[in-house]
């Protein structure tokens, strides 16, 4: 088995995961990336998407929105403004996220970014199957 990296997922309210993972798939703002042992130190912001961590206990998926991921020699830490295990994600959550995004889109000047955010949310929702 390949080497592992220390993976931490924290939201402002709690620490969701802290395991040794063999790979972590991160929905980066500029595209998805997978972090494995020996990855170059990177900091990337997140887009709304699904974060997957593969460890000896199996693969865990989380719905994350907003925040950033820090890949360093010590491990991968993901700081997400909102992070929910996929199993717990439900229609109500997505409704709340979408309405929030739309509200933000209504006031922001950067329409492109706001529309991308909404599109990301829709894609995320479709991916989870809600």
């Amino acid at each position: 088995m390949a080497g592992s990296v220390q993976f931490d997922l924290v939201s402002p309210e709690r620490r969701l995961a802290s395991v040794a993972a063999s790979e972590v798939q991160i929905p980066g703002a500029d595209g998805d990336l997978t972090a494995m042992e020996g990855h170059a130190p990177t900091i990337t912001t997140l887009r709304p998407g699904i974060l997957k961590a593969v460890s000896s206990e199996g693969t865990k998926s989380y719905v994350v929105t907003g925040g950033f991921a820090e890949i360093s020699a010590g491990g991968v830490s993901v700081l997400a403004e909102r992070a929910v295990p996929v199993e717990e994600a439900n229609a109500a959550l997505f409704d709340a996220l979408l309405s929030e995004a739309r509200e933000a889109a209504a006031v922001t000047e950067d329409k492109d970014a706001a529309e991308k955010l909404i599109a990301d949310m829709m894609a995320l929702r479709a991916a989870v199957g809600q």
């Binding site: 402002p12 990336l33 130190p41 700081l79």
Partner: protein
Amino acid sequence: MPSLKDLKNRIGSVKNTRKITKAMQMVAAAKLRRAQEAAEAARPYAERMNAVMAGLAASVGSSASAPRLLAGTGSDKVHLLVVMTAERGLCGGFNSSIARLARAHANELLAAGKTVKILTVGKKGREQLKRDLANHFVGHVDLSEVKRVGYANAQTIARDLLGRFEAGEFDVATIFYNRFQSVISQIPTAQQVIPAKFEGGGASALYDYEPSEEAILADLLPRGVATQVFAALLENGASEQGARMSAMDNATRNAGDMINKLTIQYNRSRQAAITKELIEIISGAEAL
């Protein structure tokens, strides 16, 4: 000299008071534990956030293109004080100590010729500052309906702050809250959130940045404000319960002392009444 009946009533009412303060103390103790856990759970996020932003700020901060949230507006004429207090009283000096610090700060700024605006969070602080600083109030955040402070509350406050900053309503924002030290000690703290200030920082490892450093920083700074507000809210929550717990502990003990004193007084006057009656009977019998 109060009559026996009065004393008895008095003892009864103090006993009831003691029951109430005791119950409040126990409730506060339970809530304190939860508040401390919440503050504990929020710490890793805040710490990492701070570390990464400090590293970014160190490398981007000096350039002319630095975001306004970091570099400031270039002046410091208008100060916004965000005063965070509790929604409820009966927690010792908790609210007054924040109000005192904020008032001192405001007066200092006013003396220096700056404009002061005040945003209050929690109604107790508002009540205390209303007397002399009411004309500086620009807004109020009511958290009385909130049972458990969540990140969403902090986001709302942060969004309000950022909106005002964008609109050019102030140059510098400072939050006032009580930092939780222990049950008997809470430290009133003033912390500048806009423009952002970082402790330590500097030497960060060499990272690849996706997208650019500036873009990440611009994305993170507003989140950083929310994180700091959230941390302050949680610290404040724990401090409030700690302060209430020790205040109610004191009150319970005082009530106990008072009951003892009143009981002794009650027994003394009862004994005096009995003695008096006896003397009356004896001297009556002797007179015959």
